[in-house]
Symmetry: C2
Subunit: 727 residues, 2 copies
Amino acid sequence: MIRPILAAAATTIVLVAPAYGQSAAPVLFDATAYGNVRQPGGRPPMFAAEVKRVKKTVDAAMRAPIEVPVPKDPGGGYTHEQHKRNYMALYGAGLLYRITGDAAYADYARRLLLAYATLYPTLGPHPAKANEAAGRLFWQSLNDSVWLVYGIQGYDAIRDTLSPADRKTIDDQVFRRMAQFLSVDNTASFNRIHNHATWAAAGVGMTGYVLRDPELVARALKGTDKSGKAGFLAQVDQLFSPDGYYTEGPYYQRYAIQPFVVFARAIAANQPDLGIWQRRDGVLLKAIRTSIQLTYDGYFFPLNDAMRDKSLRTDELYQAVAIGYAATKDPSFLSIAKWQGRSTLTPDGIAVARDLAAGKSQPFPFPSQLYRDGPDGDRGALAVMRSDQDEGAQVLVAKNSAMGMGHGHFDKLNWMLYDGGRVIVTDYGAARFLNIEAKDGGRYLKENESWAKQSVAHNTLVVNQGSHFAGKWRDGEDHSPRQLFFAGDGPTKVSTAEMAGAYPGVTFRRTLVQLRLGKGSPLVLDLLRVAGDKPATYDLPLHYAGHIVEVGFPTKANPANRPVLGSANGYQHIWVDAVGASGPEGAALTWINGERFYTYHMLPPAGATIYLGESGANDPRFNLRREPLLLQRVEGKADASFVSLLEPHGAYDPAAETTVASQSQIRSLRHVRGSDGDLVLIQPLKGSPVILAIADDVAPDKTHSAVIDGRTVRWTGHFARIEGDVR
Amino acid sequence: MIRPILAAAATTIVLVAPAYGQSAAPVLFDATAYGNVRQPGGRPPMFAAEVKRVKKTVDAAMRAPIEVPVPKDPGGGYTHEQHKRNYMALYGAGLLYRITGDAAYADYARRLLLAYATLYPTLGPHPAKANEAAGRLFWQSLNDSVWLVYGIQGYDAIRDTLSPADRKTIDDQVFRRMAQFLSVDNTASFNRIHNHATWAAAGVGMTGYVLRDPELVARALKGTDKSGKAGFLAQVDQLFSPDGYYTEGPYYQRYAIQPFVVFARAIAANQPDLGIWQRRDGVLLKAIRTSIQLTYDGYFFPLNDAMRDKSLRTDELYQAVAIGYAATKDPSFLSIAKWQGRSTLTPDGIAVARDLAAGKSQPFPFPSQLYRDGPDGDRGALAVMRSDQDEGAQVLVAKNSAMGMGHGHFDKLNWMLYDGGRVIVTDYGAARFLNIEAKDGGRYLKENESWAKQSVAHNTLVVNQGSHFAGKWRDGEDHSPRQLFFAGDGPTKVSTAEMAGAYPGVTFRRTLVQLRLGKGSPLVLDLLRVAGDKPATYDLPLHYAGHIVEVGFPTKANPANRPVLGSANGYQHIWVDAVGASGPEGAALTWINGERFYTYHMLPPAGATIYLGESGANDPRFNLRREPLLLQRVEGKADASFVSLLEPHGAYDPAAETTVASQSQIRSLRHVRGSDGDLVLIQPLKGSPVILAIADDVAPDKTHSAVIDGRTVRWTGHFARIEGDVR
């Protein structure tokens, strides 16, 4: 019954009256900032492009009849996507009205909102609701919160153009009801310390500012009971580490950052006395920078539940970069905006576009850095080691962070490697096809539990073929790794971390070293030591990307009938291509990825078995990607050491048809355990060897020694690199 | 023993005397053309960049001691790569001498050639020779010919700087011996009608011009017996079709084009009376254009033995484009050079760089076009249908060409599809890791015979699980497809071809239609009809790229123990993931590739079985890529029709997190066989249906009729598209 009414309304555009007094003027941004961009000629290129882009979609939406369908579909379905299109159109129309002064945009926003004012009060829980908290417009209330965050900004921009009657209708029937639904009616989820609650708080809080309703603002800042135990401020204090690391990991940091910074901007504008940008030594600004740091060539490290195709080119980061620049005027944000190729329609976006056009951009520095986890920074860390600042730099990521709640994976001390512009040692990310209806409505697939989260799907230690914390994430919340040592400066970078409690009676420690040896990309040395209270089976998987060039150890292949490796905890998803054994000098596998070769040298405990396999077994619905993996297994040991060296080498040039050093340039890898530390000797084909000395003790001043080839090697501190021959 | 002598020579650079008279002046290019580029300031950007690039490698080579090792290694090995580096350095030094006038380049070329003069006469057959004709410097004589093609050009550039003694030494001990070895000593391969022989002819013929030796030129042009039955002119007449299509396919056309055009340029300069560019209506110029046509986003269609990573960015095409431009002044060549980003150091390269800088470039037109195969154009054809000129255009390739000799695949009437910048329906190309030593020295792998060449590895009909011509390429040379119909103009493009003789008693015919239906990429309709003289098993594989989103028919999966499909002819390399059955309305499979969805609608004969599988079985050395495939099978039929429709639809935007139309927009696909033709009815979800009418007879004037839903459809000619409802 809505359509005819709207059709009528559509004919009244020209009759929109101007502002009904300043009491309804915008409060979420400075409307005067649009003075210089009213005329197209006054718009800096990036801003002009954004106006054009948004204008295209909003103008198209305005030409079509308004569609505010009764909610029905899950993610990816028609009603889901239409309500998303509507909040984007509302947001765009509001800002376009401020930019162009064209009343048609304001009137369109008005008509759209009046349609919601008719529909929204009639809605109950969404018919497609799942285990998540149900929304009204969407299958999960999270999406309703996002609707409110965008919607209230669009509304704020046009609210002073409305008649008192329309304004009251929209205030009461749309925004007050949504704010009520998302806060009081959903107290449990609203009061969580979780990004879903942050979206809700941002929507409710900004609604409070726009409707001039302090009660809503108070709820948003301090929780429904206003005690401060919940709400936005508690979230700022508890969800980020002192280094601005968000505990769920980079992918959700990207997602969570938007409500944090958008609401923070609104708070700074309306309650400057709260000093929100200064809170916790400026943790929200650190959070913006850290989001950018946790990327490779602009793509987020796909740790925990994460989509691999997510980059800095997303609305969340356009907003975060623009707001970060407005708050700091740090010109390195401009080079990120340049890479993004887009900014926002807000006054902050105007500043970014203007200063970028003025050539004020500076390179964004990407240091090797430790990002501590946990509110107090004592719940492990993410260690990022970068070979240099180039685009094709080698980046070694050691995931020594905490569980990260329900989206966390069981991957303590996991690692990833990027090199030459590609991912070489991989993380599967999430088993999910975002918004693709045929794949369980775009939600996380059951394979996300059965594979993607499991320990064996990561580059970490697996004991007795079970996952860390027996696959119970709440138990994982109680046990974080300890980052014992980090050296991010100088040519040799080192991270040492230890994990206890992932398995009863088992402690394991991992040192990852990024070291240059001659020209080319650095090598990566991985020393993993495990100590258990009883004999067990220890598996160390490596998930790599590339095509096998050479298997440097004897194998028995399964060429015509491919079995699976196990029956549970992710093992049921692993096809076994071949089984081999490591020799006294260890074993090596060489693969090619792009235009470079990689050899993985292994020194597992004596008698170790090596499996070559691929993901994708027990997957009748083709929900999994098929990716290669290698697994080292030792059985019946209580204590064990796995020493591995990943060596990038050579060059393959398909255009020039030249190939250089397609075979390993390392003659030997050896390991000696001393009384209180380990020596690893790397002997290249050409040049003298290098010894890496790693003490158990991380104290900087203690001296240690160990003997290799009759030579006593002495060093001070946790780590030392000794050049030259052992004779 | 070479080293010390060279070290001594290296100290005499400054003593090089100027030209010893014009009798030795360059004859392969116009040395006066370098007048304007002597000073760096006079060099257009692309040429300056090329000078810089070549200078870098040549200067580095000049700083190092000269290395002319005794041949030992196969492709990819040290001696192989070093002799390749040497001929590139020789070529570069020669032209750099002409460009810069720096005598050091001439002297380096001299010293390098004197080293070869010492080594070459001592050489016998290469120790790593395989089944190919053995070379002296390389494992196959082909590489020796390439050495000569580059080497003689470099030598021509500096020959007039040599003392008579040095010149005689190099003439006699290097070039005359190589020419002798490649022609008379290898008569059999020299007199073949094959690209290997073209490289030899080009090297020997240009050596003839440079050494002023008419005997060598005559041999090169007309074969060792100078009868004209062999040699370059016979190769020009027999290896290209009238449309400039090279019978081995795009990958080898790319490779073969260089000696053809480089030698042709030399012939035009030294024997203009031969009218080489005009020969056969300018077939060599057509060949350059056709090489460029047989690409998608610059990458060659990987038909027959081909590396997928081969693009227009190769030395062969830098040469071909520069020479083509010099010969025609067609400004569309400049836009290709622009995409390549490089040109040559020759006078032709100067012209390309200069005119590109002058803004003379015009877009290179990519029409939908038929490329006939065979010297007389009657041995089938390659049909290329392009939706438009955009980068992301949809390109449908119907491989109705002839066998193409020993590198040809058993894939009669095979097809490929590109869409949205990606390959969607694939061709495996060759099983080979070019120049990667660990992979059989970089040669073709045995899996090239057991998989890549086999019929089941392609998108073509397979009878009784055997390959076309029982896998005997010489038999394939006797049976070519017939291209019966092609319509490349207008919105609906059509190719119909027929194959008889691939299997005894079996004829099959395929019509491929590229048709637009509403917005977005065109649909592809595939009607394959087979007529046999007895009941047989017919398989129709589809090799696609993407991740399965939805299997639209019931299947029985092999989730935990993956069998292979067969035991020979490529079937032993196919893992079977699931087996399903087609219903009365057929079956459909949907996958995602990049940011677009694809649904493959199938109407196989009643009772057909559908296999979902993957390549990579029986591959203990990991020589194969693992790629998905689908296979429709019908058993016990003599005649059968397979009707398939490939539908691109929807959009997936990971940044905006929006998904549109992830499910098929086609309601139904139906097929009716009439008395003398077929009707295919496509009913979209929205809008009216379209009927494709395909008559058996290809005569343009005959009228036909068939009945569907009680309606009689009448049309004239082989193909008609009828819009509107069937009522």
